[in-house]
Subunit: 389 residues, 2 copies
C-alpha cells in the first residue's frame, strides 16, 4: 500500500428538499455570486426559480451566466472569468451536472490568476488559489461536486483537457435524488457509465494489498449495477435507487476509492479524444473504451481481471481458466452497458474509424498514458481498433 494524503472538505448536503438550503449555505461564503447553468431543463423545471428565491431570502445577489454545454467550452469559461472579475463576484454556483460544475471550477480558479486560463490545461501552470465553488447536482455522473478534477474543451483545436488540483474541491454540494427523476434515460445511462468508469480506473492497479479499497470499489460497482437495473426497469421515480446511484457517483470520484494506490486513467484519456473529435457524451465514449482497454491488457495480470469478473459480475470459475473468467466478465459488462442503451463499439456511436491514427497520436500528446501499463501511441491505436471491431 502506498502512502497517501486524503483531505476532502466538500460538505455534502444530501436528500429531499435540500435545494432549498442553497441560499443559507452560499451566504456562509459570499454576498455576490455567479449563478452558472445550461439555461435548459433546470429553468423549465422551475429549479432555477427555487434557487433564486433561496438566494434572495439569504441576501445573496447573483449574476447569471447560462449556456453550459456537455463537454463544456473554453469560450464560456473565458466569458465567466471576465464577468466574475468585472462584477467582483465571490463564489461560483453551478446548477447542473459535471459540465456546469467543471465550467464553474475553471471560472473560479481562472478569475483569480492573471494568465489565460488555458495555460493551466496546457500544464504550463498549476492553480495556487481559487474562488469557492458550490453546486446543486442534477445529473449524477462526473462526481465533480467533490472531486479535484476539471475538464474543459477548447473548441479551437478541438482539445479536451483536464486540470487536477486540491483548489478544485467545491465547498458544498447539494444533492436531491428527486431532481434526477426526469433525466432522459440516455443521460442516466451516460452518468452511470461515467461513475463506473471512475471506479474502474481506480480499481485496475498493480499495487498489491489495498484490500479495503478493493472491497469498497467492488461494493460500489455492485450497488450501481443493481440500482441501475431498477431504474431501467420502470424505476425512474424510485427514490432509493436514484439516491444510491447519486451518492455512489460522488464517492466514485471523491478520492476515497484510490487511497493507497494510483489509478490508471488511460480509458478516460482515450475517451477524451473521442469526445473532442466527435462530441459524443463522455459516458458513451467510456462504455466503448473500457471493454477494449480490458481486452487489450487481459494477459497482463489476469487474476486481477478475473477477480473483477467474479466480484462485480458474479462470474464463477475463479479456479478454472482465469482468462476465460475475465473475458466472461467483460462480456457481461458490455451486455450491461447495452442493456441501459450505451454503445460499446464505434459503429454503435457513429464514430468514423478512419481517424484512429489521428486519435492515437493526439492521446499521447503529454507522453504515455495509463499506470496499469504505460501505453504508447501504438498501444492506443490497437485499443481503438479493438473498440472499432
Amino acid at each position: 500500500m502506498q502512502n497517501f494524503t486524503y483531505n476532502n472538505k466538500t460538505k455534502i448536503i444530501f436528500g429531499k428538499g435540500t435545494e432549498n438550503q442553497v441560499g443559507s449555505e452560499t451566504a456562509l461564503y459570499a454576498k455576490r455570486i455567479l449563478l452558472h447553468h445550461s439555461g435548459g431543463f433546470a429553468v423549465r423545471s422551475g429549479l432555477i426559480d427555487k434557487v433564486k428565491e433561496s438566494l434572495k431570502n439569504a441576501g445573496v445577489e447573483w449574476v447569471e451566466l447560462t449556456g453550459v454545454l456537455p463537454n463544456p467550452r473554453l469560450s464560456l469559461v473565458r466569458k465567466g472569468i471576465e464577468i466574475t472579475r468585472k462584477e467582483k463576484l465571490e463564489l461560483i454556483l453551478a446548477v447542473g451536472g459535471g459540465s456546469a460544475i467543471d465550467s464553474a471550477k475553471a471560472i473560479a480558479f481562472g478569475s483569480v490568476h492573471d494568465c489565460d486560463v488555458w495555460e493551466f490545461f496546457e500544464r504550463r501552470r498549476s492553480p495556487e488559489k481559487s474562488l469557492p465553488v458550490g453546486s446543486i447536482v442534477t445529473i449524477p455522473a462526473a462526481g465533480s461536486e467533490s472531486s479535484l478534477s476539471c475538464v474543459i474543451t477548447n473548441e479551437n483545436g478541438p482539445w479536451k483537457r483536464g486540470v487536477n488540483s486540491p483548489f478544485n474541491r467545491p465547498v458544498f454540494a447539494i444533492m436531491n435524488p428527486e431532481l434526477t427523476y426526469s433525466l432522459p434515460p440516455y443521460q442516466s445511462a451516460c452518468g452511470i457509465t461515467d461513475m463506473m468508469a471512475h471506479i474502474m480506473e481506480r480499481y485496475f492497479t498493480k499495487e498489491p494489498n489495498v484490500e479495503l479499497t478493493d472491497e469498497f470499489c467492488e461494493g460500489a460497482l455492485r450497488t450501481i449495477i443493481r440500482n441501475a437495473r431498477k431504474i431501467f426497469s420502470g424505476g425512474e421515480n424510485n427514490y432509493d435507487a436514484r439516491a444510491e446511484i447519486m451518492w455512489a457517483g460522488t464517492i466514485a470520484h471523491n478520492g476515497f476509492l484510490d487511497t493507497g494506490r494510483i489509478g490508471d486513467w488511460a480509458s478516460h484519456a482515450m475517451d477524451h479524444e473521442l469526445s473532442a473529435l466527435f462530441d459524443i457524451a463522455h459516458g458513451a465514449g467510456l462504455a466503448i473504451m473500457f471493454p477494449a482497454w480490458i481486452k487489450y491488457n487481459i494477459k497482463d495480470g489476469t487474476p486481477r481481471f478475473a477477480r473483477f469478473a467474479a466480484k462485480v459480475w458474479g462470474v464463477d470459475g475463479a479456479f478454472y481458466d482465469l482468462e476465460q473468467a475475465a473475458l466472461e466478465g467483460v462480456m457481461r459488462m458490455e451486455n450491461f452497458f447495452r442493456s441501459i442503451g450505451m454503445p460499446v463499439r464505434f459503429n454503435e456511436a457513429g464514430i468514423d474509424p478512419s481517424r484512429i491514427q489521428e486519435m492515437a497520436k493526439r492521446v499521447v500528446y503529454f507522453g504515455s498514458i495509463g499506470q496499469y501499463r504505460k501505453l504508447t501511441e501504438k498501444d492506443a491505436e490497437a485499443i481503438y481498433r479493438l473498440a472499432a471491431e
Copy 2:
C-alpha cells in the same frame, strides 16, 4: 434512505515516515501547543523525541502533559484546560490512541468555554467552538482521529460519558502503520474489536435501502477480519495488514458508514457501564456486549442478522432457516473474538454479575438506549444476563 449531511475536514496523512511531517503540519495552525500523551511507550520507543525534533524544526513550541490512561480521566482533562488557558496554547496535539485523542478533544473545547467541562458530558451544553486538535495515531481502534466523538471518564462516580460535536473533528491525523508493529496483542485485539463494533453499530439499522453503505460496512468488516487473522498468525510486522487495519479503523468512525441512516449504539452504551465500573478495556467490553445484543434482538428483523452472517462471516443457508443462519453468524463472531484473545462472556473478563441490575439502571440514565430497538432498563438487564451466561 434518510437525508444526511456529510462533512469531514480531517486531513489524513497516511504511510511510512509520516510522523516526521508533524512539525510542518502543526505550524499551519499554531506556534504554541499542548503535547499530550501517556508518557509510556511513545516515550520509550523514541517517537516523542522524533515529534519534538519535528516541532522544533518547524518553530513550534510546546508544553507537555503526560499521564493519559485508557478510559481517559476527567481530572487530567481539567489539568490540561488549566495549562492551555494559562499558557495561551493554540492547538492540542495528541500522540497515542483514542484515549489520548479524546482527552485532547475535551481539553480543546473545554478551554475555550467558560463553564466546567463536565457540563458538556452531562448534556447541559454543547460545544460552540474548539481549539484545533491534531494527532499522531499509535493505536488503531477508536477512530477518534477523524470522528466527532469524545468519551471521558469522571472518576467521581464513576461515569463514562461522550460528547459528539462537529467541533470535535481534528484538523489532521498522522498515521504510520509501522508505529503499530509493537502493540501488545491484547491491545491490537481490543482495537480490532472496537472498530468492528463501530461498523456494526452503524450496520444494524431498520432503515431500508442503504445498499451502498451496507456494501461498504460488509467490505470493511471482511477486510478487518482477514487482516486481523494475518496479524495474529505471525504477521505483527506485516505492513500491509497493519495498514488495512489502521485505515479501516478511521473509516469505521469517520461518519462515512452511516450516511443515509441512524446507527444503534446500544452495545456501546452498555459497554460504557462495564468500563466505568470495572475499568476493562473498551474493546473487551464490546466483544462481550455485541454478541449478547444480537442474540437478544435476533427475532426482530431476522433477515438483517442473517445477511450479516452471510456477507461478513460466510454463513450459507440464507434460503433455509434464517434465524439459524443468523445464530451461526454470532457464533463465528464469538469464535473470531476468542481467537484474537478477547473475552466474550462476563466470567472471561472477571466481571461480577451481581452488579447487573445496577448497570442496567445506570445505562438508561438519559432514557432508553439504541435505535434498532429502543431498549429499556429491563431489556438492558436481559442483555447483560445473556452476556453473563
